[in-house]
């Protein structure tokens, strides 16, 4: 089990899970808002193509589906 934070809240993940899937499993589906129309967006393709699950980790924008959850990660909405 590893533990990271999303928007301040603690999220638990099974070792090896992606940040995106761990958030999904924790019931957190909305990872950001579309900059053009403001609608909520979340994981969609889960293979690094669609860019809908981009979050900010350690200041860098990255697809949540491509980052393996690690202890202590600080994740904010994209």
């Amino acid at each position: 089990m590893v533990c990271f934070r999303f928007e301040g809240a603690e999220v638990k993940a099974v070792a090896g899970q992606s940040v995106g899937v761990a958030l999904w499993a924790a019931g957190i589906r909305t990872l950001g808002r579309n900059p053009c129309d403001g609608t909520p967006r979340g994981m969609h393709c889960a293979m690094g193509s669609c860019q809908e699950c981009v979050v900010v980790i350690d200041g860098a924008r990255i697809e949540a589906c491509r980052v393996v959850a690690r202890d202590g990660l600080v994740v904010t909405a994209g």
């Binding site: 099974v14 070792a15 090896g16 899970q17 992606s18 899937v21 999904w24 499993a25 589906r29 909305t30 990872l31 579309n34 053009c36 129309d37 609608t39 909520p40 967006r41 979340g42 994981m43 969609h44 393709c45 889960a46 293979m47 690094g48 193509s49 669609c50 860019q51 809908e52 981009v54 860098a60 924008r61 990255i62 491509r66 393996v68």
Partner: protein, 471 residues
């Protein structure tokens, strides 16, 4: 720092990893690059500890064989540019690198074909391939109560796996009719093990009492912050919605899929010739019986060279490796011919099955009618169908015209999620061929890259600023 190889293989799925293993055995100094942290691709992805063990035994075999080979691997590396010749630029956890090789095999696989549905941008809507990744590799249910919708065999696989993992399936909504499935029985019979799998999925779905709606489509997905319910309705033989035949289902997730389409950005970047072939999944890099593209010493295999499925992929990868070895003078034409013969025979057999499955998912004209004018087509730039229709009426006849007029495809995904639907809208309105409508110009980086990881540390004084422009 540019390293030299005989061959670089992009993509470590069944096709690419098989190509690399064989190329190595044929004496080629081979580098295999993939953005995942292990071989297997999407279909044979290595499960996480939370995933279902044994769900990817073909993948385990592949990974073992790769580890035992002399192939150099570069995992967790994102290819962001490829120059002719071939120079491959990558970015990974340790920064950027570039590698050079005389020959290049593209085995970059496929992505899901996206067909916009009203409400499809809501959190909780994931692709069918994404759902299989959740279930198999990551051991997570897509939702507590899931609607599975779209077209193709993955519908039943995902529904069955959701049930098996303890979730509920609110409905399976399939564009195809039962008759259309039965019409494929002969090609399905070439792969009895898969036919058997299919029957077991259906049995599980039936036992659970899940409604299976054939020749139905999602009319829309509803919810405010996420998926809350869907409305499904009947469609005609062209998949156009029929009025007044609607049912709604409460759910917290929708798994939506319309088949696969080859990923062509790398081959387009290299200027290879492409063909539009709906039976192969749409735009596909042109490749011959040796898996050679129109660019010298550039080969393509796997679903990226036309959707033929996972069973065909290793065969095409191995043919590509043989062709590369021959073209680099490591194999005589006679040896090549002898070795390639059994592979081609097996390929012909497996390809039939793959083509039949791709055929079931081939889009039909009526699909576009379900896209209402306020539906977002380009997810990144939030461009609606109405905006696209306006630009097309205003004279946009190519994808590049449409991009310039509406920003459709200019966002982070680079058009991978919207270009096919946008092109279909142009085709429907103008009657032009897909060849004339074209694709967006492929431009690096192949995926968005954070500047800090790309640029590294540097001194201003070290920047080679060219001489000033003339006064």
């Amino acid at each position: 720092m540019t390293a030299d190889h005989d061959l670089i293989v992009l993509g470590a799925g069944p096709a690419g990893a098989s190509a690399a293993i064989d190329a190595d055995a044929l004496g080629l100094k081979t580098l295999l690059i993939d953005e995942q942290d292990a071989a297997g691709g999407q279909v044979w992805q290595a499960p996480t500890p939370a995933g279902r063990p044994g769900s990817a035994s073909e993948g385990e075999t592949l990974r073992r064989r790769l580890a035992a080979s002399g192939v150099r691997t570069a995992f967790s590396q994102r290819v962001w540019h490829i120059e002719p010749g071939f120079v491959v630029s990558t970015a990974g956890p340790a920064g950027t690198a570039s590698s050079r090789a005389q020959a290049l095999i593209l085995a970059t696989g496929a992505i899901e074909r996206h067909v916009p549905v009203p409400g499809w941008t809501l959190p909780g809507v994931i692709g069918l391939a994404a759902a299989t990744n959740f279930l198999k590799a990551q051991g997570v249910l897509p939702g507590r109560r899931v609607v599975v919708a779209g077209v193709g065999p993955l519908l039943f696989q995902v529904a069955a796996q959701v049930l098996e993992a303890g979730g509920a399936v609110a409905a399976v909504i399939d564009l195809n009719s039962r008759t259309e499935w039965l019409a494929q029985a002969r090609s399905l019979a070439t792969r009895p093990e898969l036919l058997w799998k299919g029957f077991s999925w259906l049995a599980r779905i039936r036992t659970a009492g899940v409604p299976v709606l054939s020749r139905h489509a999602l009319r829309r997905i509803d919810g405010s912050e996420g998926v809350e319910s869907v409305v499904a309705g009947t469609v005609d033989a062209d998949w156009a919605p029929l009025p007044h035949q609607e049912r709604s289902f409460q759910c917290d997730a929708v798994c939506l899929g319309f088949g696969l389409t080859p990923l062509t950005d790398a081959s387009r970047l290299l200027g290879a010739r492409h063909v539009y072939d709906p039976s192969l999944g749409g735009w596909t890099v042109e490749s011959d019986a040796d898996q050679k593209t129109s660019v010298v010493r550039l080969y393509a295999c796997g679903d990226g060279a036309g959707i033929l499925g996972a069973a065909a992929a290793p065969l095409r990868g191995r043919i590509a490796a043989l062709a590369a070895a021959r073209d680099l003078s490591r194999l005589t034409q006679a040896d090549f011919a002898e070795r390639v013969r059994p592979l081609r025979r097996d390929l012909a057999r497996t390809a039939r099955f793959g083509l039949a499955m791709a055929g079931l998912t081939m889009p039909r004209s009526g699909l576009l009618q379900a896209i209402t004018s306020e539906t977002v087509v380009c997810r990144c730039e939030a461009v609606t169908r109405a905006a696209l229709d306006r630009a097309i009426a205003d004279g946009a006849v190519t994808i590049n015209d449409l991009k310039a007029a509406t920003r459709c495809g200019m966002g982070p995904c680079g058009g991978r999620s919207c270009e096919d639907a946008a092109a279909a809208l142009i085709a429907a309105r103008t009657g032009h061929s897909r060849e004339r409508i074209g694709t967006g110009t492929a431009r690096p980086p192949l995926r968005p890259l954070p500047l800090d990881s790309l640029l590294g540390d540097f001194d201003y004084e070290q920047l080679p600023i060219p001489a000033p422009a003339p006064l």
